[in-house]
């Protein structure tokens, strides 16, 4: 593995961490698409910068780009505060307008210059290691590594310094202002960090990957945990994992690095979505099946409780009486036996002491309209779940 390849992975990982932190808050605040908006709305900043300097390589262009990013955020916030439209509508209103202003400025004044976002922001991970930073004539590493590294250090410092404030203002803006710090300032601070990170990361890895790294790891982490600290940590781990595994996928396929990392992010989210312990699709399906069987079990026990007649309690008659299919009634019967709720004597089912207690308690709860208590009770009575 060459130096360039190692450096690409380091840059990609740094970008992943720098994006995951503001990304987590953006996802929680339902403003995830602001990063996409910023990556478009920076165009007029770049164009104005070019008109001032007449130089495509001037750092002023990137500075003005970040500034337009912040303007985007302020405008979105302003429109949203009117209460007339929702967050996503406000985002959708602001960035196409800013982008179009940029396009019109190019068309009117610079039609014969190669002026677009790509011409100013590198946006290609493959070339990042070749754009070196030279200090006093010696090579200290790729420029984008230093830019993203600095952004990351600032982000982490701000995160540690204002963690409590950010947490409260994200989840309860009213409480935040009652406690004496303005949620609006927190909001602008966070959005400015997101804007600067987007522009900096854009230069290093390109637009689509920035958006993907901001949203996908945070969204996946949100499926696993609701603890903010853990969510940040998981988002960072997911981001770094996708960055590095995506790089190697690109290596084996000889494909675009940013494209492969984005694909990995998609796959990662999909697998978390399927396999997450409590919110994942498979876990939810399993839980639903379990509950269906347990409800059937309860119905069965109630039936036994209500009927003393032997013919009503005969195993073979169960199908007709409670209208169950054979497989289902066998499952329910097995479960009841395993949990020592019933005993079968000469093909006649009767409740055990434990079964009786359970059923009577359940009836109590149902009568007093406290069905939810049954779930808690199950833990005390069940040795095996459905």
């Amino acid at each position: 593995m060459s130096n360039a390849q190692i450096e690409i992975q380091i840059i990609a990982s740094l970008v992943a961490i720098a994006c995951a932190i503001p990304g987590t808050f953006l996802v929680l605040r339902k403003m995830a698409m602001i990063s996409d908006a910023i990556s478009h709305s920076i165009l007029p900043g770049i164009v104005i910068g070019f008109f001032i300097t007449h130089d495509l390589n001037s750092p002023l262009l990137i500075l003005l780009a970040a500034l337009t990013g912040i303007i985007t955020v302020v405008l979105v916030e302003y429109i949203q505060k009117t209460g007339l439209v929702k967050e996503d509508t406000a985002i959708g209103l602001v960035f196409p307008i800013l982008f179009s202003i940029g396009v019109i400025m190019i068309a009117k004044n610079a039609n014969d210059v190669h002026l677009d976002i790509d011409a100013v922001l590198l946006g290609e991970l493959a070339f990042a290691p070749f754009d070196r930073l030279m200090i006093a004539g010696s090579d200290v590493g790729p420029k984008s590594m230093w830019i993203i590294g600095s952004i990351l250090v600032i982000t982490i410092t701000l995160l540690i310094a204002f963690f409590k404030e950010l947490k409260v203002s994200t989840f309860d803006a009213g409480l935040a202002s009652a406690l004496g710090f303005s949620p609006v300032i927190m909001h602008y601070g966070l959005m400015s960090v997101a804007s600067v990170t987007t522009v900096g990361a854009f230069d290093a890895v390109g637009a689509i990957l920035v958006v993907a790294l901001m949203i996908a790891p945070a969204a996946a982490a949100y499926l696993i945990t609701t603890d903010l600290k853990k969510m940040l940590l998981y988002a960072i781990c997911f981001g770094v994992f996708s960055a590095i595994s995506g790089y190697w996928m690109a290596h084996w396929l000889d494909a675009s690095i940013a494209g492969s990392i984005t694909t990995m992010l998609g796959l990662l989210f999909l697998s978390v979505y399927l396999f997450a312990p409590s919110k994942g699709i498979i876990a939810v399906m399993y839980r639903e099946k379990q509950q269906r069987i347990e409800v059937s079990l309860l119905t069965f026990l109630l039936h036994l409780q209500n009927h003393d007649e032997i013919e009503e309690r005969h195993v073979n008659h169960l199908n007709e009486h409670i209208n169950w299919q054979k497989v289902r009634s066998k499952t329910v019967l097995d479960l009841a036996l395993k949990n020592n709720m019933i005993s079968i004597d000469n093909k006649v089912v009767s409740l055990t002491e434990k079964g009786k207690t359970f059923t009577l308690k359940a009836i109590d709860y149902i009568i007093t309209n406290e069905d939810s208590q049954i779930e808690d009770m199950k833990d005390d009575f069940f040795l095996f779940r459905g």
Partner: protein, 303 residues
């Protein structure tokens, strides 16, 4: 957290250590556009390893790098590129690569700046499509031969004689092109295409060149541009307009529709190669084949 990242990276390094150097003692030369790849092949032949970054039909402004390009670039000893912002941000990257023991040569630097076509608005930005002037390409040939000779002194004589031979071929090409173009009456020498790639061609061969889009392929043509150009086509009785291989067809089709709506007819004369050569192995896959094809297409359609 950074330490955590580093641990992952380092473990991956150890897990997958392998050498990418495929050098067999020959100079590793990387080229950008297919025109430059063709030029360097004609001079270097088998004496050097040549790897082109952009294949056929790829617009240099919209080129996306693959992971393999990283090793190509980091193993390169010498890189030839067009320059004049043709390769976008990549030009800036190449300019900085000199610090890493990789020699990078923008072939446009050999051409006298005063003869280049500059932007109306910003004088320091020039039209980069220099390969459409055969004389410029002759200068580029000489320059590439010289740079290759400096890099591999033992083959200097071969590179020079290859360069001379290729220059002779280019001269023959130019003479042939002029003969073809002379069959076309002067007043019919108007070339309407999708974007401004053919300005040097027009200057060298006496064509009036009108592009629908600006220089950057990323900008879109405005409604007014289409209407103005349609009026121009009717006024000058232009018979055909042209599509370019690396620009989508629809803008030119929109222009054709605009002309038709004014009860006039203009046909699409064919597809011209502008920012990239044809597929490797075909006649249009070489500079000479491409230029001949373009001129034949233009002359046949406008006749």
């Amino acid at each position: 957290m950074k330490r955590f990242v580093l641990i992952i990276v380092i473990s991956l390094v150890i897990a997958s250590c392998k050498s990418d150097k495929t050098s067999n003692g020959k100079l590793n030369v990387v080229t950008t556009t297919s025109m430059i790849t063709d030029l360097v092949k004609n001079i270097g032949g088998d004496l050097i390893n040549i790897q082109g970054l952009m294949g056929s039909g790829i617009d240099p402004h919209l080129y996306k790098a693959s992971e393999g390009d990283v090793s190509k670039l980091s193993n390169a000893d010498l890189i030839f590129y067009n320059g004049l912002h043709l390769e976008g941000k990549l030009v800036e990257v190449f300019e900085k690569m000199g610090n890493q023991n990789i020699k990078t040569v923008p072939i446009a630097e050999i051409i006298d700046e005063r003869t280049l076509i500059g932007s109306d608005y910003f004088q320091s930005n020039y039209d980069p499509h220099i390969w459409f002037d055969v004389d410029y390409w002759k200068q580029a040939t000489q320059y590439v031969a010289q740079k290759l000779g400096e890099a591999v002194p033992e083959h200097k004589a071969t590179f020079e004689s290859n360069g001379q031979r290729y220059i002779a071929e280019l001269e023959a090409l130019k003479a042939k092109l002029i003969t073809t173009i002379e069959t076309l009456p002067k007043e019919k020498r108007i070339l309407v295409t999708a974007h401004d790639a053919f300005n040097y061609f027009g200057k060298a061969f006496g064509f009036e060149v009108v592009g629908l889009q600006g220089l950057s392929t990323a900008t879109e043509a405005g409604v007014q541009d289409v209407q103005k150009l349609a009026a121009f086509i009717i006024e000058n009785n232009v018979k055909a307009i042209f599509v370019e291989s690396s620009v989508p067809k629809r803008t030119i089709e929109a222009l054709q529709a605009a002309v038709k709506s004014k009860d006039h007819d203009v046909e699409i004369g064919g597809t011209l190669f502008s920012d990239a050569l044809g597929n490797a192995g075909t006649t249009e896959g070489t500079y000479i084949g491409m230029f001949t094809f373009n001129v034949n297409t233009i002359v046949n359609a406008l006749k």
